[in-house]
């Protein structure tokens, strides 16, 4: 099986600080993957580089079967290629309804003129409703996103990711600030999504990663420290040193 995403020895520094230091990583076309690491390990910078927000000083980010280099493409272009991103803080359009948020994210032609003259089709509606049901927000379609609780906003954002129908979901701390039942729902959502596509979860919280039960990559000081099952990496002395044995 060829890799969906191959990050090839990228490095980036901010004012002399090496946030990412010769990092290489491969993501398979389906399945869950967790990236963990202490604060400042470069997790968010890694996502910024892959999604086009930050340009690496060196290295390549190769995407898909044709190994297209994503470095230098705009955020929207990369998103249209099939990369969806969920932010740490839930970022939904708070002044708009749940239905409008989902509709805006639906995979559709994105050229500005096409968006201007787009009509919402019955198919769009069916897709949006199906996602609303999956994320458990069907009863809240007409509420403004700003009215939702923190957990519901996180789900809405995951729903918007699903609506984009991406091949790779990059999810930043999806469980932050959630109650235990909310975490379970989130875990289910991500597991189901990972059946048909790649899901990369960046997490801080070991307990949540254990629940995901997947391959884990540990980042430290901008490079990969260890990789494998959670039990494997947590028994690695280096990992214990920098991350667990605080």
């Amino acid at each position: 099986m060829t890799a969906l995403l191959h990050v090839d020895s990228i490095s980036v520094s901010f004012d002399g600080f090496r946030a990412i230091n010769d990092l290489s990583l491969t993501v398979e076309p389906t399945g869950l993957r967790a990236i963990i690491g202490p604060n400042g390990a470069g997790k968010t910078t890694f996502m910024d580089i892959v999604t086009g927000k930050t340009r690496p000083d060196s290295g390549r980010v190769l995407w898909g079967e044709k190994a297209q280099d994503l470095v230098g493409l705009s955020e929207s272009r990369i998103a249209r290629l099939g990369l969806g991103r969920k932010f740490q803080r839930p970022t939904v359009f708070e002044a708009q309804t749940v239905a409008e948020n989902l509709d805006l994210a639906l995979r559709n032609p994105r050229q500005p003129l096409r968006v201007l003259f787009a009509r919402r089709t019955a198919d769009d509606r069916a897709r949006a409703l199906a996602i609303a049901e999956e994320i458990g927000l069907l009863p809240h379609l007409h509420r403004r996103a700003g009215e939702l609780s923190h957990g519901q906003k996180q789900w809405l954002e995951i729903g918007m990711l699903l609506a984009q129908d991406p091949r790779l979901l990059l999810v930043d701390e999806p469980a932050a600030g959630m109650t235990v039942p909310e975490r379970e729902h989130t875990t289910d959502l991500l597991r189901r999504a990972a059946e048909t596509r790649a899901v990369v979860v960046v997490e801080h919280d070991m307990e949540f990663v254990r629940r995901l039960d997947c391959r884990v990559t540990v980042l430290h000081e901008g490079r990969v420290l260890a990789e494998g099952s959670l039990d494997h990496v947590t028994s690695n002395p280096d990992v214990i040193d920098v991350y667990l044995g605080r």
């Binding site: 929207s76 359009f93 708070e94 409703l129 069907l138 700003g146 009215e147």
Partner: protein, 413 residues
């Protein structure tokens, strides 16, 4: 299982989706017909009809400003530049055609009929004598043709806005920096127009625009009504256009740019392209408003595109309430009418004994204070008054029960 209401995400006709459209068109029709009846009955003066017509043009510029600022979040402080360009473009034809008529009449008594070249030179020295030139500058190349100048009304501001927006948006200039750039744009245009060799008569501007060639037999009373109707038609069409633009998925995307354009980018939307479309479209509509305004005002000069004019436009929209079209129109109408009342000596002076408040001087202070007060205490502006109608009473308590939901004070859709 809960099912979604059948109206969810269904495409709706723009009028059905936004009840303000019908109300706005109704009020507009009443004002126009009412003013026509009163004018025909001699109960209101021609100059008042012109004031009304001009006000409708300002309303059109204000709803365009509301779309670009209130909906799309681009605080353009240069939109009145496009208004002025529209005025200049139509003014070039008006002056040329009118002067040609007069010159032809004057030369008609000559024993030898004048050649076209003689007529052209006579017209040119009539128009450009004030700036010491006696030939048509290149910029007047199309001024002989109404159709071509009408094309310029939309083409010049369209190209200028497109170019400016393309440069600014693709380098991701946003917020206050973009506002400063737009101020720079309108200031540069104004300074260029002030020069005598710009070809547009320097600080004299274009004048005599109220005389419409070919309609000499009509008289100003009927011409003023013609322009009132044209302005009302343009405002109505503009209102429907912008109500359409801000509805459905396109409206949702435009408001999303205002609220979080980075997020919209990560959804794959071409934010820069959408901004450019909105910026250019509103610029063109503003120019059309200007092309209808200046024949009613009679004169245009470079002062009209000074940076201050665009700031006034933003003030009208803020006082009227941004983010709703009728609010912007209301703000523009009310503030501009009040402004001409105060500055025209309509408001009585207030003697305080030690000092007399003369409104011609103090009106701008009052307007400034109102702007500050609205921004601080009534961000919804005049349009917010419509929320007091019982059926649309705003929510009293918090918006959601849980952590992370909007609290009451945040809940301003």
């Amino acid at each position: 299982m809960t099912t979604a209401p059948s109206s969810t995400l269904r495409p709706r006709f723009v009028i059905a989706g936004n009840s303000s459209v019908l109300w706005a068109l109704l009020v507009l029709a009443l004002v126009t017909v009412g003013a026509t009846v009163l004018a025909e009955a001699g109960m209101i003066s021609t100059s008042f009809v012109k004031t009304l017509g001009k006000t409708l043009c300002l309303c059109l510029a204000a709803i365009a400003m509301d779309v670009v600022w209130g909906y799309c979040g681009i605080l353009s402080l240069g939109h009145m530049a496009f208004f002025g360009i529209g005025g200049y473009a139509i003014g070039q034809w008006l002056m040329t055609a009118r002067t040609t008529d007069i010159v032809t009449q004057n030369l008609a008594g000559q024993p030898l009929p004048p050649t076209p070249r003689e007529i052209e030179q006579a017209v040119a020295s009539q128009i450009f004598g004030v700036v010491g030139a006696d030939d048509f500058p290149w910029i007047w190349a199309f001024s002989h043709s109404l159709a071509l100048q009408l094309l310029m009304v939309v083409l010049v501001p369209g190209v200028l806005a497109g170019l400016f927006g393309w440069l600014a948006f693709r380098s991701r200039v946003t917020g206050v920096y973009l506002s400063i750039l737009t101020q720079g744009m309108t200031l540069a245009l104004s300074l260029w127009l002030f020069q005598n060799d710009s070809g547009l008569r320097g600080n004299n501007g274009l004048s005599g625009l109220q005389n419409i060639p070919g309609l000499d037999q009509w008289g100003q009373d009927r011409i003023s009504l013609l322009f009132l109707w044209a302005s009302a038609g343009a405002l109505g069409a503009g209102y429907v256009l912008f109500a359409w633009l801000t509805s459905g998925r396109r409206g949702s995307a435009i408001r999303a740019i205002r609220d979080d354009e980075a997020r919209l980018r990560f959804l794959g939307h071409g934010v820069e392209g959408l901004k450019l479309l909105v910026f250019t479209l509103t610029a063109v509509v503003t120019a059309i408003a200007g092309a209808l305004y200046y024949p009613q005002a009679g004169i245009i000069n470079p002062g009209e595109v000074a940076p201050l004019a665009s700031i006034y436009l933003a003030v009208w929209v803020a006082i009227g309430g941004r983010g709703r079209l009728y609010g912007a129109a209301l703000g523009a109408a009310l503030v501009s009418l009040l402004s001409s009342w105060f500055t025209g000596g309509g408001a009585p002076d207030i003697p305080l004994g030690f000092y007399t408040i003369q409104w011609t001087d103090w009106w701008t202070v009052l307007l400034g204070l109102t702007f500050v007060a609205v921004t601080l205490w009534a961000p919804k502006g005049l349009g917010g008054l419509f929320d007091l109608v019982p059926s649309r009473k705003p929510r009293q308590g918090d918006w959601g029960p849980d952590d992370g939901a909007w609290r009451r004070e945040e809940g301003q859709p």
